[in-house]
């Protein structure tokens, strides 16, 4: 199961890099979303998968019976943060499209000295 997850994570990272290297701003945002998904899945997988019991210490339940709950708490925090950042990014992209009139990263190049 961990192997499948690793392949999936790798694919997500690959897709994210591909999208982020394109010129359109909206593709870049989707790419950044995929990148954080990949990182979150990695976090989940690194805690080890498997185990059916709830993570409560009780009689007859050993450590191997439940999945590590800590990565799940971490991933929740990370998801919330990346949600906030992505929504900020979308608003920023829309606003800069209105102001600058383009979403092409090639045209957003340029230094400050000449507008």
């Amino acid at each position: 199961m961990e192997i499948i997850m690793s392949v999936a994570i790798g694919f997500l990272f690959m897709a994210a890099v591909y999208l982020m290297l394109s010129k359109s701003l909206i593709r870049i945002i989707i790419g950044s979303g995929l990148l954080s998904h990949g990182a979150h899945l990695l976090l989940l997988t690194m805690g080890g998968l498997g185990g059916n019991s709830p993570p409560v210490v009780a009689e007859g339940v050993s450590v191997s019976d439940y999945a590590d709950p800590l990565p799940q708490a971490l991933i929740l925090t990370a998801i919330v943060i990346s949600f906030a950042v992505t929504s900020f990014f979308l608003v920023l992209a829309y606003r800069s499209y209105q102001e600058l009139g383009t979403d092409n990263m090639d045209l957003l190049r340029g230094t400050e000295d000449y507008e």
């Binding site: 870049i28 990148l35 954080s36 976090l43 925090t77 990346s82 920023l92 606003r95 102001e99 400050e112």
Partner: protein, 493 residues
């Protein structure tokens, strides 16, 4: 156990929330923002006194025993940094009154500054690597708001790149934390410092250490990863630039300092040598930029990159003078960068441009400003007895005692370039034929100039009275070099 170390995080947080309720009440916003920063400075000073008297302070949230709950730890280094960063935020708030503009002030400028303070103080205080990620995100979110605040065209254009770079580095941060957790099974820094030496497979840990170097390097702007900094920092107005230049990169530097002294010490001959080489390359790259531009903001921005290199070189030596020097230089650099940005901000306002070639002759009309700038510039370059000198001296000494003596030679040589780049501003802006300046009311000038002079005076005191501050600095260095002090304070609570 004392909750004192949480106050510098909680106070600005509460004030920021209160300030968000009435964004249009200008006077109240200013008073409360200044009060928040002032109270934070006071509480940070109390914290520093407490840490100095009673040793490392640690609180584990929710009273869970240490490796399980989230630890907040205040050792001398983090207390010193919290004091310095709170002080700088206070000055930035004062400097913002005349410079940032009423429109920005009325659209949540002060709450964003205070949230940035929450994130910075939190990142300096936390004792948990995932909690560090959370606080870094808090300060990044505030910095996204500030960098785009006002919505001018260059700001929008540059904040897209800033945002994207930081999203990538955050994703890598999560990935690095995941790897670290899977190898060690803990995220508490003190616990990591106990567990990592027990692991015999140092290869995978070295990979993780380098991943963390990349992650923090994005924030600290080290050699190959600094490309985003000059453009992004150039676009926001001067007070925000001063805040970013003084605080944001320093969080990355602090994180490298902490992780590379506390627990990534299993393969020093590789990781720390790499850090040393990268530090020297960072200095050289910064020097090229500092000499290449005729723009006052750009010159000081590239000096940020140079300072990051100098600080990290001291840490890479991992001996007592090197580490002490790094801590001293870090505090000096935070203060002096804020002061310099304030000064070039005044110069830029007076001439209505940031291009050096269109400036000249300011010494005749504003002599005090000129001499204050000269003092700050000499402080930046490290001319004794100003504040850049003791730190650099110790770092160079550390380099000569360590394996990378050639790095010390580079630092000594580049000091001259730093001096040249800073004095070039003096020569172009203050000497030469007087150029017509923008008329500025005396009261507005004073409002900008007084916080600046006080900040420069603080740096002078910090340099001249180095002997006075050395006990704090060497106390901080001692904790960095002997992780057992840190570990005992956290785990034996």
């Amino acid at each position: 156990m004392s909750n004192l170390l949480l106050f510098p995080i909680i106070i600005p947080f509460f004030f920021a929330i209160i300030l968000m309720i009435f964004p249009k009440r200008l006077k109240l916003q200013r008073i409360l923002a200044a009060a928040a920063a002032g109270v934070t400075v006071v509480s940070a000073l109390f914290l520093l006194a407490k840490v100095d008297a009673d040793g490392v302070q640690a609180v584990t949230l929710g009273s869970w025993p240490a490796p399980f709950g989230i630890s907040m730890v205040s050792d001398p280094l983090s207390a010193l940094l919290v004091v310095t960063s709170s002080l700088i935020t206070l000055f930035v708030i004062f400097y913002s009154f005349p410079t940032i503009g009423v429109k920005r002030e009325q659209s949540y400028y002060y709450p964003a500054v205070l949230f940035l303070m929450v994130g910075v103080n939190g990142a300096f205080t936390t004792g948990d690597i995932f909690n560090l990620f959370v606080f870094v995100e808090v300060l990044l979110m505030a910095s996204y708001t500030l960098i785009v605040h006002g919505g001018e065209k260059p700001q929008l254009r540059e904040s897209i790149k800033y945002l994207l770079v930081n999203i990538i580095s955050s994703a890598l941060f999560v990935a690095a934390v995941a790897f670290l957790y899977s190898v060690t099974g803990t995220l508490n820094m003190a616990d990591l410092a106990v567990k990592i030496p027990q692991i015999e497979e140092t290869g995978i840990l070295t990979v993780i250490a380098v991943m963390f170097l990349v992650v923090f390097g994005f924030k600290a702007a080290i050699f190959p990863l600094y490309f985003w900094l000059p453009g992004s920092y150039y676009s926001p107005p001067i007070p925000i630039l001063a805040l970013f230049g003084a605080l944001l990169t320093k969080v990355g530097v602090y994180a490298i300092m902490r992780t590379y002294t506390l627990f990534f010490t299993m393969n020093i001959s590789f990781t720390h040598e790499l850090l040393g080489i990268i530090a020297i390359l960072t200095i050289l790259a910064g020097c090229v930029g500092a000499l290449a531009y005729f723009d006052v903001k750009k010159i000081i921005i590239y000096n940020i990159i140079i300072a990051v290199g100098v600080i990290l070189f001291g840490i890479a030596q991992l001996n007592q003078p090197g580490v002490d020097g790094s801590i001293y230089y870090l505090l000096h650099d935070m203060l002096i960068k804020a002061a310099l940005f304030f000064l070039v901000g005044i110069v830029a306002v007076l001439f209505g441009t940031t291009d050096l070639r269109k400036m000249g002759g300011l010494i005749k009309t504003y002599p005090v400003l000129g001499w204050t700038y000269l003092v700050a510039a000499f402080g930046l370059a490290g001319i004794p007895p100003l504040s850049g000198f003791p730190g650099k001296l110790l770092i160079v000494q550390g380099g000569f005692e360590g394996p990378q003596f050639w790095g010390s030679i580079v630092i000594l040589a580049t000091s001259l370039i730093v001096l040249l780049s800073a004095v070039r501003i003096f020569i172009y802006a203050f000497w030469g034929e007087p150029v017509e300046t923008v008329p500025l009311k005396k009261s507005v000038f004073n409002q900008m100039f007084i916080p600046t002079v006080i900040l420069v005076a603080i740096t002078v005191v910090f340099g001249v009275g180095a002997e006075l501050f050395m006990p704090f600095i060497s106390g901080a260095g001692e904790v960095l070099l002997n992780p057992s002090i840190y570990i005992d304070a956290v785990l034996k609570e």
